[in-house]
């Protein structure tokens, strides 16, 4: 029969060949000879098994496939991939393969690749679940996270009870260290941000108020704005990003390295040993930072008032003192304390829920920041409504 099908890819001439080539020929009716020649390298773009598939579809399929590699100069994984495809094509059509013509190393690698058959069910099902199933699963997920949150709150409450009775197990040194970290070490960034917030508030007010010749009321605006809300919420946002994330990352890493397990199995409650000092430190430090933030915001307003609006420092301060009420000031400090509690809880909860990998630690830190900012801002809105209703 000797029907020769030169389905070649590039020129046959050896001097020009830079690429691997494959040619198929039928020696007789039952055998298809696959002739491989040239260098087969992945980086030089190797032919695909589509050629073989086309050939098998175009004519009556042969019984066996054999290989001729006399022209093959060298090869890498590109050739193995081609042969694995070839062998899949042959198996699908129940054609035998005669691998005698292949180099020994290549034959062994092929056997290795085919030694363990693909495990059924290993490949993930890519089909998407129906809409209602997804909605239901997500809703149940939320329910679960709410119950986890409540569980955490309950445990924290028990730990607080023990702390009050002096029975909680924690190290004083740890508490002092956390207090230093979320108190003194945060002063720098609070200074910068809250001073600028005061400046911004003053600018916003000045544009409108100076039109009526009422520039002096910038002092009122800044004073009330900072003490009532801005001081507390800005400090809370700074501390969420700075300290809440750090708590989540630290506890998450401790979970990954089994340090939390080591505490538990030693009979030391991680809730008392790790969470309690952190929450206490934040609850103690937040009102102090907030007071400092209020002061700096007013200072920022003063700089704008004196520098841009031509007010005297004395009259600005007099106006501020006349406006400042203890109700606003303590309202702000109370809010700050509450935000501190929220940030501590969010940071520690996300740290405890962290999965067992380094990327999970990153996720935990992100979620801690998102959760504490969201909870903080929502609480801020609620406070505004409630304070308004009770007339503060």
């Amino acid at each position: 029969m000797a029907r020769c099908l030169q389905t070649k890819v590039t020129s046959e001439s050896h001097s020009i060949i830079e690429q691997g080539t494959v040619s198929l020929s039928r020696a007789d009716g039952t055998t298809l000879l696959i002739k491989l020649s040239g260098p087969w390298h992945l980086k030089r773009d190797v032919p695909s098994a589509a050629i073989l598939r086309r050939e098998l579809e175009s004519a009556a399929p042969p019984k066996t496939v054999s290989f001729d590699t006399t022209g093959l100069t060298n090869w890498d994984s590109g050739l193995i991939a081609f042969l694995v495809q070839t062998s899949q094509v042959c198996r699908a059509r129940s054609i035998d393969q005669d691998r005698q013509g292949l180099p020994t190393g290549l034959r062994r690698l092929l056997e290795l690749a085919e030694a363990v058959p693909e495990k059924k069910g290993t490949r993930s099902d890519t089909a998407r679940a129906p809409f209602f199933e997804r909605v239901g699963k997500m809703t149940m997920g939320y329910g679960l996270s709410v119950s986890e949150f409540m569980n955490f709150l309950g445990q924290l409450a028990v730990a607080c009870g023990k702390y009050v009775r002096g029975k909680a197990r924690y190290r004083r040194v740890d508490l002092v260290e956390v207090i230093q970290d979320c108190g003194a070490n945060a002063v720098g960034i609070v200074t910068l941000i809250c001073f600028l917030v005061g400046v911004i508030l003053a600018f916003m007010g000045a544009v409108q108020l100076s039109q009526f010749g009422a520039s002096i009321y910038v002092a009122d605006l800044v004073c009330i704005g900072m003490t009532r809300d801005m001081g507390a919420i800005m400090t809370a946002i700074i501390m969420s990003g700075r300290t809440g994330a750090a708590f989540a990352a630290k506890l998450g890493t401790m979970k990954v390295t089994q340090e939390i397990d080591a505490l538990t199995t030693m009979g030391i409650s991680p809730m008392e040993f790790l969470v309690l000092p952190r929450v206490i430190a934040l609850v103690l430090m937040m009102p102090l930072l907030c007071l400092y933030a209020d002061f700096l915001g007013i200072l920022g307003g003063l700089v704008v008032g004196v520098g841009m609006l031509g007010l005297s420092a004395r009259s600005y301060m007099q106006e501020t003192i006349a406006t400042l009420t203890l109700t606003n000031l303590f309202g702000g400090l109370f809010k700050a304390t509450f935000y501190g509690l929220l940030i501590g809880i969010a940071g520690c909860l996300r740290g405890f829920q962290c999965g067992n990998s380094s990327s999970a630690v990153g996720d935990a830190a992100t979620q801690a920041v998102v959760m504490s900012i969201v909870m903080g801002v929502v609480a801020c809105g609620l406070f505004a409504v409630v304070f308004n209703i009770i007339g503060i």
Binding site: T257, D261, T265, M266, G267
Partner: protein
């Protein structure tokens, strides 16, 4: 101040009278993650003074079984007894007291990274004994000396090598003179010499402290060198398929899966000698 000056939390360490008596009894334990059953019907007894090996291929639930034994995970069904006390049904306080009599060496050492080695060992001593800080420091130094780390008291865990972290973890596990020592993959990540030194240390501690030892491992060398009792978990059938002295199993077991494991795949399986 010597180690004798403090007593472990009221427990009875292994003595000549208790040797051979059951220490840990696991009854019909089923382990699961949610609805996924990892292993079912696990049943074995660890005697006082045993070096008990939990073995099996990767991913079969060895470490999970250990987490059940030390109360970090609750059984789906079944119970775990320590002596006569039901650990699974015990209330939180009883459990805490029982946990204090365990010493656990985690796979990565799990030393608290913000504390020095001496503080790591001193923490349980400070919490559960009435020792003064200077006594605690002396005992911490003694425990470090026992694992060959004298002079490293003031090092932080990240300043020492992985093998040293493991030994320091062992020193911490021994802080309260435990009755039972648990090891999770003690030789993982250690070179063969450190690994065999650790094996010797484990045997030495078992003999001198009179402790019972439970080890999760798949290191054949360690299994035969120190183990005298074992349970073999099979991931495929999700059951325990053998229990007893590993040397006996090697000599007498007819189960091809056990033989294949204990001979590094040279016997017992159809893929044996495949690439030789």
């Amino acid at each position: 101040m010597s180690a004798e000056s403090k007593k472990s939390g009221g427990g009875v360490a292994t003595t000549k009278a208790t040797i051979g008596k059951p220490h840990i009894i696991v009854k019909d334990l089923t382990m699961s993650y949610g609805s996924f059953v990892l292993m079912r019907d696990i049943d074995f007894t660890v005697r006082h003074g045993d070096v008990f090996i939990i073995m099996g291929g990767s991913g079969c639930g060895k470490s999970t079984l250990l987490r059940h034994l030390i109360g970090l995970k609750e059984p789906a069904t079944g119970e775990i007894f320590y002596g006569d006390v039901n650990f699974t049904r015990a209330d939180a306080e009883t459990r805490e007291l029982m946990l204090r009599r365990f010493g656990i060496l985690y796979q990565s050492g799990a030393l608290w990274s913000s504390m020095t080695l001496a503080q790591n060992i001193g923490l349980p001593l400070g919490e559960f004994t009435d020792l003064t800080p200077s006594q605690i420091r002396e005992i911490a130094a003694l425990k470090l000396a026992l694992v060959g780390l004298s002079g490293f008291e003031d090092f932080y865990p990240n300043e020492i090598s992985g093998g040293m972290q493991k030994r320091a973890g062992l020193a911490r596990a021994m802080a309260l003179d435990p009755e039972i020592l648990f090891f999770d993959e003690p030789s993982a990540g250690l070179d063969p010499i450190s690994s065999s030194l650790l094996d010797e240390l484990i045997l030495e501690l078992r003999d001198s402290l009179g402790a019972t030892v439970v080890i999760v491992t798949h290191e054949l060398a360690s299994i035969f060198a120190i183990g005298n009792n074992c349970v073999f978990l099979d991931a495929e059938s999700r059951e325990q398929i053998a229990t007893g002295d590993p040397k006996d199993l090697l000599a007498n077991s007819h189960d091809p899966r056990v033989r294949k494991f204990l001979t590094r795949g040279k016997e017992g399986g159809e893929t044996a000698n495949h690439h030789d």
